[in-house]
């Protein structure tokens, strides 16, 4: 092992960055699941968001428009998931699986038919999101090197985690979202529109997952790659479970998974590469996710009505 000031600092820098992408998608998962809709389509929404961000940025040269497009794309996929699972009471896991297939197919289809590219789409001359450098924080010793300069999405992810916490636990809307996910019939009885709250939760999850995709493609990277999401949508869901469906718990879980991804990315730098081939190290984040869930999940109980379609007539 090669642990010194430089490698640990680099490792933690990568960890914060990776965690942020997971966190954005994870916050989306919280909104959706708290409202009672299981969303395993986060993966597809990240993929679609990543593609739309690059596509719109190439055309307009405005990266923030790219981010907006990614959010809209995520929201549209989420709306589809919502209509299928809320209006038509489809099985939510199946609907989510289909959206993941659709997103993979649609992004490649559009890439081929609009840009005539296969496999990946580079930003080339178009600018990506430029990093934010935060005054005061960047001047701190050591911490400044880890937290001082990042893509805007990284900072926004952690701010949004706090906002989500406030919304969910300290506003009437948050109470409604939680009520709809725990006991939709009771919520309906006191006059909450169950369907509307569920659509809101699902669409918010699409906006956030789409944003996560854009952070991946034009914030941290500068290209869209097929399979870019690489299971991050599912790891984010695992983080939601690990974090007991709370924003702050999910944030902690995302940091853990972020570290595991960072260990994998910087395995050569850390000197692990000479003992374990890097292709095998690639399994590390997934193994950590499984171990975390196995050691913990028995005591983690999700929203009671999550995954169950709500039927007004069935009381």
């Amino acid at each position: 092992m090669n642990l010194n000031y430089v490698t640990i600092t680099t490792l933690l820098f990568f960890a914060v960055r990776s965690a942020a992408v997971l966190l954005l998608a994870g916050l989306g998962g919280i909104f959706s699941e708290r409202a009672g809709v299981v969303n395993i389509a986060l993966e597809g929404m990240i993929t679609m968001g990543a593609f739309m961000a690059v596509a719109v940025t190439i055309v307009t040269h405005q990266p923030w428009l790219g981010v907006l497009a990614a959010m809209i794309a995520g929201a549209l996929l989420a709306a589809l998931h919502g209509v299928l699972s809320i209006r038509f009471k489809a099985n939510q896991v199946i609907s989510g699986t289909a959206i993941n297939i659709l997103a993979a197919g649609l992004s490649s289809f559009l890439m081929k038919s609009i840009f005539d590219q296969g496999g990946h789409l580079l930003l080339e001359k178009a600018p990506g999101l430029s990093d934010w450098s935060i005054p005061f924080i960047r001047d701190l010793p050591w911490l400044g090197e880890i937290l001082g300069q990042h893509s805007p999405g990284v900072y926004l992810a952690f701010i949004l985690a706090l906002v989500t916490h406030l919304v969910l636990f300290h506003t009437p809307l948050g109470l409604r979202i939680r009520a709809v996910g725990e006991h939709p019939h009771a919520a309906d009885t006191v006059g909450i529109n169950v369907y509307r709250i569920r659509y809101l939760g699902v669409i918010l999850s699409g906006v956030l997952a789409g944003f996560a995709g854009s952070v991946l493609s034009i914030g941290i990277g500068s290209a869209f790659l097929e399979n870019m999401a690489a299971g991050r949508g599912f790891i984010a869901l695992a983080a939601v479970i690990f974090g007991k469906w709370t924003p702050l718990g999910t944030m902690a879980a995302c940091l853990l998974f972020g570290v595991s991804e960072a260990v994998q990315v910087s395995s050569n730098l850390l000197g692990i590469g000479q003992y374990i081939p890097s292709s095998l190290m690639a399994t590390f984040p997934y193994v950590i996710t499984m171990l975390a869930l196995a050691g913990f999940v028995g005591r983690s109980v999700g929203p009671a009505a999550s995954g169950q379609p709500y039927d007004v007539d069935q009381r």
Partner: protein, 381 residues
């Protein structure tokens, strides 16, 4: 002499000729009966979903200014263009039968085995390793050993999330997906290691010829279809003709009631995912021995396991339905290359069609809604 052997001289030849004369009519009657018995429950939703899926795919083709009819023709040509293309559809469908059965079996216990992909990859690899490393065995031992290795490797890959589900209560969806990624990187690590990698190839050495399964006319179709047919029959028998299968289905219907009835639910969950994994692993083994003959480096998921989810869904989680749905996917696989070559439409349009078919199958209320409105419009007009 042959005439004298028969007790009734006019009997057999006439009976046979009558049988042959009536065969077409009887077959049609039989098909009609099966059709009518299954239309409402099993056929209406999948068939309408397929039609809508093709239609929506056509809209996407239209949106990029190409002719959807050309795409449909390319699909037909890729199936019926020649006997070889027809055989190739069957060859493409064979592994999907296994992954489809795998997902369907787990689904009967109420679980989503999205890990068929990883289990299939482990089957590809394990059969390859045994086929390369145990080359000194005679064929009669080597071929079964390869198949067994693939089956066991898939079973192991199902056992891990199965155990975590049964003992720790971890939801199988996330774990099976994680296992897919682990299988992907693990197989690639082994394929590219000095132990297995053939010089000049991004793949392992070739499997020993004694372990190979014969192909038909050099297409992807191979004698593995016999094993696939056996797997279909065994799955059906296991699910509907044994106590074990009854317990599996009871667990899927209502785990609480099953537990109350004295069924060991955690154990059934575990065994269902193990069998599920074994089916997918066997499919992978046959793909290595019958089609690929080496294990190639993977640049991403093969898709065969992931599409198993769709195949099971469209096939209504029934072994016979799985075969039909696998054939449909065999057609789509084969035609995706053809579409891009002959019409210039990106082959990913097939992926869009697949997703739409699943949407319509999953949300069968959409189909019921449309069906309800269609005849009314007809009456009004």
């Amino acid at each position: 002499m042959p005439a004298k052997q028969s007790s009734n001289p006019a009997g057999w030849p006439q009976r046979i000729s009558t049988f042959i004369k009536h065969l077409p009519r009887r077959t049609i009657t039989y098909i009609k009966q099966v059709w009518q018995a299954n239309w409402e429950t099993n056929l209406k939703v999948p068939l309408t979903a397929i039609a809508f899926g093709l239609l929506v795919g056509g809209l996407f083709v239209l949106s990029i200014g190409k002719n959807p009819l050309a795409v449909y023709l390319a699909i037909l040509e890729s199936v019926f263009g020649s006997p070889r293309s027809f055989l190739d559809v069957i060859g493409q469908a064979t592994p999907l039968v296994f992954t489809g059965l795998s997902v369907a079996f787990a689904f009967r216990t109420g679980m989503f085995n999205i890990g068929a992909e990883g289990q299939y990859m482990m089957g590809l690899l394990a059969a390859g390793i045994v086929g390369i490393k145990l080359h000194f065995l005679p064929r009669i031992l080597l071929l079964p050993a390869c198949l067994l290795a693939g089956t066991l490797a898939g079973g192991l890959w199902g056992a891990i999330p199965g155990w975590l589900k049964a003992k720790r209560g971890v939801h199988e969806v996330i774990n099976t997906i994680m296992m897919n990624y682990i299988a992907l990187y693990l197989t690639n690590t082994l394929i590219m290691s000095a132990w297995l990698k053939a010089p000049g190839y991004q793949a392992t050495y070739e499997v020993d010829p004694k372990a190979l399964i014969g192909r038909f006319m050099g297409t992807t179709a191979n004698w593995g279809i016999l094993i696939a047919a056996a797997a279909v029959a065994v799955t059906y028998y296991l699910l509907w003709r044994t106590k074990f299968g009854y317990e599996i289905r009871a667990t899927g219907h209502n785990p609480d009631a099953a537990k109350y009835a004295g069924i060991n639910v955690p154990r059934r969950l575990l065994s269902a995912l193990v069998i599920s994994g074994m089916l997918a692993g066997l499919g992978g083994a046959i793909q290595t021995l019958g089609v690929k003959r080496r294990v190639f480096q993977l640049f991403g998921f093969t898709g065969v396991g992931l599409d198993g989810v769709a195949v099971a869904l469209i096939g209504r989680n029934h072994p016979v339905g799985v075969v039909l749905a696998a054939l449909l996917y065999g057609v789509l696989y084969r035609s995706s290359a053809m579409i891009q070559l002959s019409t210039g439409v990106p082959r990913q349009v097939i992926g869009i069609m697949q997703a739409c078919i699943i949407f319509f199958v999953a949300a069968d209320e959409i189909i019921k809604l449309i069906m309800k409105h269609l005849p009314q419009r007809g009456k009004a007009a």
